[in-house]
Amino acid sequence: MIISICQPYALCAWPFANFCFRRETKKVTTPILDMKGITKRFPNVVANENVDVELYPGEVLALLGENGAGKSTLMNVLAGMYRADAGEIFIRGKRVEIDSPRDAMRLGIGMIHQNFMLVDTMTVAENIILGLPDLPFVPNMVDVNGRIRQLSERYNLQVDPDSRIWQLSVGEQQRVEILKLIYRGAEILILDEPTAVLTPQEAKELNGILQQMTREGKSAIFITHKMEEVIAFSDWVRVLNKGRLVTVKQTNRTNPQELARLMVGRDVLFRLEKKDHDLGDVALELTDVSANNDKGLPALQGISFRIHSGEILGVAGVAGNGQKQLVEILTGLRNVSGGKIRIFNEDKTNKSPLEIINSGVSHIPADRIARGVAGDMSVANNLAMKCYRKPPLVRKGFLHPARILDLARRMIDLFSIDTPTPQTHAKFLSGGNIQKTILAREIDACRGLLIAAYPARGLDVGATEFVRKQMIAQSEAGTAILLVSEDLEELVGVADNIAVLFEGKVMGILPSNKADTEKLGMMMAGVKLEETTA
């Protein structure tokens, strides 16, 4: 069976395909923004080298590039968070110095950062007026709330000014961020990977809002590494690769394949080959499992499913619908409040992480820095972390450094981990190589069941491909895999079956070759599988 991940590319652009209006770009003589020769260096790294950006009023520009290509850095320079080492910025034809976010704001530049810049404990209104230059000493909150309501009506951004940020969903928080920029009268909006946390439906709404704002003459730059968003959102696209500007294209004169090639600097294989293979016995079985979140509220309710050896079960869903708790109960990091977990036909409900590891379960954690590696330990020790308790790595209760090093060299070679030496501290590795380190350790230690949470998140195209191929290879070798991901392409391409989580419940499980993105999107928004066909 061959699954082509992006083959009908129109299909990939699914959330946007039917509402994407291409406008004829009107050329005004002066660009609203002109960045020339921007260079920004960090210790040991050149993040941007001689990059130009040009933006005209009413335009949407997409900045496309792999992780670490320098997109966010470039925009942080524009938003005043970083200072460029070289280069000039012109706004409406006038040269400007942007030394701080305050300067940027004064020039009408507003940025929505990837991690939202909101104060959790304060209200929506307080967040929106925070730091306004002309705010009176005692702000009149009645007026402020009135104005917010007015703006939210006009742009269809429903949110209650008096609710506190921590009570809002991620989608609502993004609305607050957008309102914040509009309230400040920003003319140039920068959005850093705005759709990463949204449901397809919410992404659709966001596009509508962007359209309305550009119709009013505002301009927008958005950062992404998803080709389909470039096609759906933008008028122009600029591609960055390793800190350099590779190309500038008018969006309707290019296509995803070309963009992908420019982005990584080589042709990308967008196909994953999967051989048909027989499934074994049931490796993991959940029966009516429930669990609470940290606040003591139900996070998982009545979850039941099975994974056979050699099967990959994908778990889809918008972040925060119980994926975290699901992974934690399966790895012994959280207790269930009801139901049974059986691993290889043995009851493993509420057992300790060590007992679960000993029963042959491996875990690729969602937060690879916090739970995947010990940053201040060497790569070799990190690689040995799962099997150091047993011979040959341990002898009479003492570790055997030479054998650990041997093991590490072998794995570094096998998984092509890019590290200066096996003794290098893990924290100095790039995100992709940290992930490869974890993958090497977990796959090596795995004896039958792999729990993988977002294994390719934030990795560049090359590393993503590597990770996905490894998963498929493992399943062909007979491992049962639970793959939690927010990337629908990945799920459809890698998994055999896909379960969709919504508010802690399984909306349905369907074979991935019958899963179209429209259907998955509806299920992610809370529609049961049976109802989607109706």
């Binding site: 810049m117 404990t121 705010l135 702000p139």
Partner: protein
């Protein structure tokens, strides 16, 4: 009975006032994200220097000014270490307490007059006298509220003003944002270092007044360790008040009240060890901490500033 309550209230207010100054000061400092554990040392230093100033000049005003100067100066050392040098705030604060305690006791043996071999201990200087407000001070029970010195009257204003400033003004909004989420505050154009310096030093000045209140009003004169651990009580009080200046009054009344009850009990020759009463405030603080940890929704509303004791630099990842 009425006479007993009246006298309890009088003592409570007098011993509570210095706690309130220091608590409100520390609340402002912690709201900006800076944890200052140097309060004990700062209170001792301002107590000794303000008393010496008053003794030599006879001016209470200069004494208070000196206390604010000393408190502010010591706080600015802490500010420099924790904001500019990004040092560990616990270490820096504790060193300030150690330094301040030793230095205060040294100064207590040097700042006195030659006639007393430089010692300040045992000397009598000017002190703040109670000002009875006509009619109001004659009321039963609550009369004590209106028969206090000027420093205590200022406390009556400090509490509501401190609350209003923090929750209703632009500056208070900025301050809260800096302590909760400096990245966001920075992106919104607020100068983090400036805000943190400002409120660490302002907090230090209030702590200074709290120290001066001890040597100029509560127990006039200088004795070794005049604070009797009040600087640590303040740290507990900040938690007990859940970082809200208005609530500082309850903590101060609780702590001051226990002080007052202790006086009465000792006078009546009780056999209950004083240690039991002394324990109460700390038990109350532990109770508040447990509640805050256990009840997350509450701690979001009234808990510690999220960025407390964390240094911030813009280009940090």
């Amino acid at each position: 009975m009425i006479e007993l309550i009246t006298s309890l209230m009088a003592i409570t207010l007098r011993s509570g006032a210095s706690l309130i100054y220091a608590t409100v000061g520390e609340i402002y400092t912690e709201r900006s994200g800076i944890l200052n554990l140097g309060i004990e040392g700062m209170m001792l230093m301002s107590a000794v220097t303000s008393f010496a100033t008053v003794y030599h000049t006879g001016s209470l005003f200069l004494g208070i000014l000196m206390a604010m100067l000393v408190g502010g100066a010591m706080a600015s050392i802490h500010a420099f270490l924790s904001i500019t040098m990004r040092a560990n705030q616990v270490v820096s604060g504790l060193s300030i307490t150690l330094f301040g305690s030793g230095m205060a006791s040294f100064l207590g043996q040097r700042l006195g007059p030659e006639s007393n071999k430089g010692y300040l201990v045992g000397l009598v200087g000017a002190k703040f006298e109670p000002i009875a407000i006509p009619f109001l001070s004659k009321l039963p029970i609550i009369g004590a509220i209106f028969n206090q010195d000027i420093l205590t009257y200022i406390v009556y204003l400090l509490l509501p003003a401190g609350w209003y400033y923090l929750y209703k003004t632009r500056n208070g909004l900025n301050l809260r944002a800096v302590g909760e989420n400096p990245q966001t505050a920075d992106a919104m154009g607020i100068n983090i270092a400036k805000v943190r310096y400002l409120y660490t030093i302002l907090g230090g000045m209030l702590v200074g007044i709290g120290g001066a209140h001890l040597s100029l009003s509560y127990a006039p004169g200088w004795t070794e360790n005049i604070t009797g651990g009040r600087g640590w009580i303040v740290i507990a009080l900040v938690i007990f008040s859940m970082w809200n200046p208005a609530r500082a009054v309850w903590g101060a009344i609780l702590f001051g009240g226990i002080n007052a009850v202790q006086f009465r009990l000792q006078a009546s020759g009780t056999t209950i060890p004083a240690a039991y009463l002394n324990m109460l405030p700390y038990l109350a603080t532990i109770f508040v901490l447990v509640i805050l940890t256990w009840w997350e929704a509450l701690s979001k509303r009234v808990g510690a500033p999220s960025a407390l004791a964390k240094s911030y630099m813009r280009e940090d990842k």
